[in-house]
Amino acid sequence: MAIQPKSVLQSSSSVPLSRQQQPYNLLNLPWLKAFLKSRWFPAVLSYPTLVVFTYIVYTLLWGPEAPSSNLGTSLTWVLWWPLIPVFMFTLGRFWCAICPFATAIDLVQKVAGLGRPVPAFLKKYGIWIIDAVFILITWSDHVFGIVESPRGSGYLLGLIVTAVVVTGVLFERRTWCRYLCFLGGLSGNYSRSSALELRATPEICANCKTQNCYRGNETTPGCPVFEFPRTMQSSANCNLCANCIKTCPNDSIRLSPRTPTKELWFMARPKFAESFLAVVIVGIVLVQNVTMLSFWEPTMEWLTSSLLGSRTLAFTAIFLAAMGLPFGVMAAVAKLSGASADESFHDNFARFGYAVIPLDLAGHIAHNLFHLLAEGKSIFYNLAALFGRHVTGPAALLSPGTIQALQFATLGLGIAGAMYTAYRIAGHSKANSNKLQTLWPHLAVLLLFGLLNIYLFTMPMSHRV
């Protein structure tokens, strides 16, 4: 098959672009292309990650029970968790390509994989399972203690590994990553805001008869997350594993920088469940922060005494309220906005829910900037202890004022990104609708969520280690 000239590069839309509009293809960098096509990628990163992860699980389960002394806690909750949204914003779901769970699936499938097709119910309800698991884990964190307890973190990771092994044995490819991983659901949403996209070139693909990108070839498997790059218009599932770059015989794949959040402006088929997850994350941030406020304990005591003396029941009640509040507000706004746009509440919610994603991402980064920058040195202290050196001192890398300024700046960008996204989404409303009336309720609620975040970030925060 003849290789088409590179000048036919296109954006994800099917409209041909002029030469000036062609996105820059990072694969034009010979060293990057060679690296991504090499059989060492992503193995050179994923296998060391698996080794580190194995040690982390070991030290979480068998190591020190004081979080400040546990390297697994530091690496997981002070380094990895804060960096993961930054990764998603810059590199999309690249983490998923080197994720130890994905590597474990690959290894399991080499020896025991049965390769069964993905059950229909997973395809249909996978996103809802992800939403439910995400909520359940957040709830468990507060009730049983996961982040602040090395053992709790170890238990969670061990259970996930168990589920990963089970799905790896039973189902084909990375069914877990695509349909069940709660982090994958989060990654999918955040990656839509990312500054990097992998896409195929439709003109080149039009002549393709192999479909190697999906099926794989003799040396490289097909897309592990069931994506067909030829028609892929979203970065939500692509994990940049580079299998399609390796297998495409026509060099159709391009890797291009893009304007962050741009993908959210043109959602062809918005899904309610994905918007629901975006709104739920607002509630999760609310819970994470509200538990650190001064009125939290008195409220909990009063509620505990009112609910059979059960603190778990009391927390669950507040948790459900915190989850329900942003959803309720957003639902009311969708009803109001939908009336102006001549669309149902369901459709309006699904469409505009994506506008919350930049705010979620900013809130996630801002919250974890605190943990990374105020507790970051704990990683070095625990790493030194691993090599027999005992080092201690303040864990902060930057002063509180600097950290807070960075948090507010991040949130500011998030609010601006969310409001602009809503503006662009409103631009795609039905022709006969009043776009301004459709837009303003969403702008108001995004501003409300943003200000709420800013207020919560002025409150004292608890440390993880």
Partner: protein, 252 residues
């Protein structure tokens, strides 16, 4: 990766070059009085556990030239010697907003205070003497005082009594003391009641020893959890392997 390794390597070099002592905000498991010296023992878990433990031993005021020896005696009389190494304490900005609990360690456990002093990287540890304290009393202030250390050990707190003048005008002695803090690892094999044994000895004095009981609990995850996850993973892997073999043989 580079940004991670380089600072870690720098810290390790610093740890070798400039050992200093500091306590860490870790759970306190024992408090002893060794001949008038207050000694606190911290663990890296809320209680000591079977398996590897890291103990931090603090002496609030240790006379210069004295050494600290730390060991544990098990329920069956087994003795575990714990080689102690100094803590290097680093300086840095205060972290966090509002609550000020930024000290490395679970500040909520004991406040995460950060005393430090100099010492040698050896076991048992002989605390070093800062060059600024040469044993010559000035006889004027008559107060203990603390000084900051040099750049290598910025949180140094060294307390020294220099030729103190008694109210009657009589010079008593040159007693130089230091806050002492060091860490060591020990593997404890059995749960139950153990004794921590701390011995402080000086050049010209008899060793002073004190003991305190501590409870050692079983370490590691719950056996039920290990059993469940292990059996589930093992079971499915075995199922997958045999099922594949069955398919392969059936296909032939």
């Amino acid at each position: 990766m580079r940004r991670f390794i380089l600072p870690a390597a720098t810290l390790l070099v610093l740890a070798v070059a400039a050992p200093a002592m500091a306590s860490a905000g870790l759970p306190k498991i024992a408090s002893l009085n060794v001949g008038g010296h207050t000694v606190a023992v911290h663990a890296d878990s809320p209680s000591a556990k079977t398996g590897t433990n890291t103990f931090t031993v603090e002496v609030s005021s240790l006379p210069a030239g004295h050494t600290v020896h730390f060991s544990l005696v098990g329920p069956q009389g087994q003795v575990v010697e714990v080689p102690l190494r100094d803590l290097l304490v680093l300086d840095g900005p205060d972290g966090g907003h509002g609550d000020g609990t930024d000290a490395h360690g679970t500040a909520s456990h004991d406040g995460g205070h950060e005393d430090s002093s100099t010492g040698h990287d050896a076991s048992p540890v002989t605390p070093g003497v800062s060059p600024s304290h040469d044993g010559h009393g000035d006889g004027s202030t008559g107060h203990d005082h603390a000084t900051s250390g040099d750049g290598a050990s910025p949180n140094l707190h060294e307390t020294a009594s220099h030729g103190e003048t008694a109210p009657q005008g009589e010079t008593v002695s040159h007693v130089e003391t230091q806050a002492y803090s060091a860490r060591g690892k020990a593997v404890l094999d059995t749960p139950g009641t153990w004794q921590v044994v701390v011995q402080i000895s000086g050049d010209h004095t008899d060793p002073l020893t004190a003991r305190a009981p501590i409870e050692v609990h079983p370490g590691g995850p719950a056996p039920g959890y290990v059993g469940f996850t292990g059996l589930t993973m093992g079971g499915f892997l075995t199922y997958g392997v045999f099922r594949r073999r069955g398919r392969a043989s059936g296909g032939r």
